[in-house]
Amino acid sequence: MEAKAFDMGPTDVAWCPGCGNYPILKTVKEALAELAVDPTRVVMVSGIGQAAKTPHYVKTHVFNGLHGRALSPATAIKACNPHLTVIVESGDGDMYGEGGNHFIHTIRRNPDITCFVHDNMVYGLTKGQASPTSRVGFKTPVQVAGVCAEPFNPLAVAIALDAGFVARASAQDRQQMKELMKRAVAHKGFALLDILQPCVTYNKLNTYQWFKEHTYYLDESHDPHDRARAFEKAIESDRLPLGVFYVNPHKSTFEDNTGVYQQDQRPLYERDVDFDKLQELIRTFETGA
């Protein structure tokens, strides 16, 4: 299958030239093509922000909802039709700021969905304010004295919550990003892939050069099944590790836990009310029952 199966054709893309979103978009299509997923069985879900526009540029089903809220509909979509591949495209503000509470509880729920977070450590669409992952000292028109708050650490939080797949990629390394995307989509359960991405317009601190100097690859000595070690790696902040931090393949998914698919694999839209059973239930309310 070729990546062009996911091409939209001529589209007015709303990103700045040189934006890190371009390589991510290109790589998503390639990863899906290599996984040979039928585009009509893929739903891309997003909130609001520059990253959240990604689904509009991929030929799949699209649910572009509200800022910060992508995970809730994504969870429900997968639960109502487990045959679909559900991918969330989000940014650091969308997912870790406005959507923080849903991020925590969706990991606990463990739906079989994939979450790509384009993490550029700044707000783009609202023009350059700090994001939850902005570094301390980062100056913006709002954070005039520089960011004081501790940056949100999505990988550490995800590992603390025992998310089944936790990884970090860099938008500069498309090859590794593609492999990580494929593994994330293939993982059965909630998969988080945080993607470091420069914002060429609003983030003059975390540039292409900065990311090059401040990242390194996890090597084979790292055992992703070792949760404590994964956590140690996740809290490194001078140089940010890239690769798979943590994997736990032994978790049941939200869809499995709903109980509605044990005897019946059909998605909910194909099902009908059992009126005989309802009649029986109503009869249990008879005063003489």
Binding site: H56, T60, L66, S72, A79, L84, I104, G259, L268, L278
Partner: protein, 612 residues
Amino acid sequence: MIMAVGAAGPRAEDGIPPPVICSRIYRRENGGRMGDGKQPGRKDDISIVLCGEAGQGVQTVEFLLTRLLALAGYHVFATKEYMSRIRGGANSTTIRVSNRRVSAYVHRMDILIPLSKGAVEHVATRISADTVVLGERDVVGDVPALKSCKFFNVEFTQVASDIGNKIYSNTVAVGALAGLLGVEVEHLSGYVRRFFAGKPENVVQDNSRAADAGYKIAVGLDLPKDLRLGAETDARIKSELLVNGAEAVGLGAIAGGCNYVCSYPMSPSTPVLVFLAQHGREFGIIVEQVEDEIAAMNMAIGAWYAGARALVTTSGGGFALMAEGLSLAGMLESPVVVHLAQRPGPATGLPTRTEQADLQFVLNAGHGEFPRIILAPGTLEDGFYLTQKAFHLADKYQVPVFILTDQHYIDSYYNIPGLDPGRVKVHKHIIETSKGYRRYEFAEDGLSPRGVPGYGDGFVVVDSDEHDEEGHITEDLDLRVQMVDKRLAKGEAAEEDIVPPELVGPEDYKNLVICWGSTYPVVKEGLARVGRDDTAMLHYKQVWPLHERTIDYLAQADRTLIVEGNATGQFADMIALYAGIDIDEGFFKYNGLSFGVEEIVNRLRDLMKDGA
């Protein structure tokens, strides 16, 4: 739908009378000190109040007594008021038993069973000289109010302890009530044995003895004979249903094809969530308690997008968090069903009490302009059929549909002849898509066929941004106008399915009493008691969009009165704004308690007096 005045509102040249400009005389009854203590007929209509601390067994007595009475062939009704606490305080349940159908709260108290210290004081305003109180003097204390009623000292606890355990005191009380009401003793022992069937034999025996002991005590007392129920019973009540408002809504949801429920617990809406969770597995319903109401609403929309039929159940404060998501449903043209059980606000308000003050909020919630439908069940049957219908309307018109209840509605129950799930057919309005499918393809009635992902070869694209016919983001401002018009057109299309208001009473009325939602039974009974052939009631089961006959109904009346469980007359304002008719008088209650039949009667008599 009735349009706003000034747009296509009523104008004299249309042959419709112009709006009557008249300031409404609002009477705000905020005391809860209502009732004239007058006895309607005893024997055929007796009210029993159980009052005690939370966790003390009021519910057990209530459960046993109502079933026992129904099995004995009497109509029953019960409602409760309770404090927002797990233990202690004072909660009361009012039970009515009658040889006619009963479905409304009365202030009057024929019999009181106080189960704790403070119980008598809690209901002191409802005690009259005729009230019979059966209680333990040591428990209730020396309360002045007991001097102005017929108090009988009955040692429930001592009797229970003598039998073997003081926990049987509730059963002793049930036995005493059965004796007092003159229920045949065979009914009592038969029912108690059946209720405790499956428990160890000694428990069955002890409870049976406890009930008998209570019965004998009551028979031995010199109690007023007019509290003995009449001989007129109806054996068919045995096969009638005893459901409360929450169960009626829950059953209606199942009948409507609901297969996804996501909510955050909040009084007084939680019983609907619990009911559907209890039956979720057998009906293939996914039930998820979510982290907050924001997630609930967004999840529900995601579920509908994937082809499920989702419900959220909440109260005003929880719905406040859903307002953003509601607006998303408006933009995505997503169906969604919201059950909102109202309680007094603002903010946390009175968590366990009742009010009808979220109507305007529900009508206006959500940024931007988009259509919605608001249903407000009056009877328990309404709760079932309207909830079932809510799923149908949401799916058909691709709009949010509300079922607006309140604590009184949720927590009240009475026997009803039956519920027929086959009356409304579940018709799924989703289509199989083909290549080139456009989710928002323009249609005259605004209704684009709704596809779901994975069913067909098309792509289903939805966007919270303004979008084109395909669903993709756009800033084409001409398209924007077309899309707004398209969304609003659905509201007009939905007018053909508006549930008409129900007129109760003479068609040639001169006085018209308007009410909506849960006040149906109380206003109806109040009106029947007043018994005027010039006065009718108009009850709205669908409060939005307003039925077009509203104008004719109101214009016919010389005098109009509205009854609402809020302080400002929210429905009256809607009628004024959208029907262009000012209602003459309002009767508003907002102390957190249910309307009682007596206060409706008093208010109606005042109306007649003023009008005569």
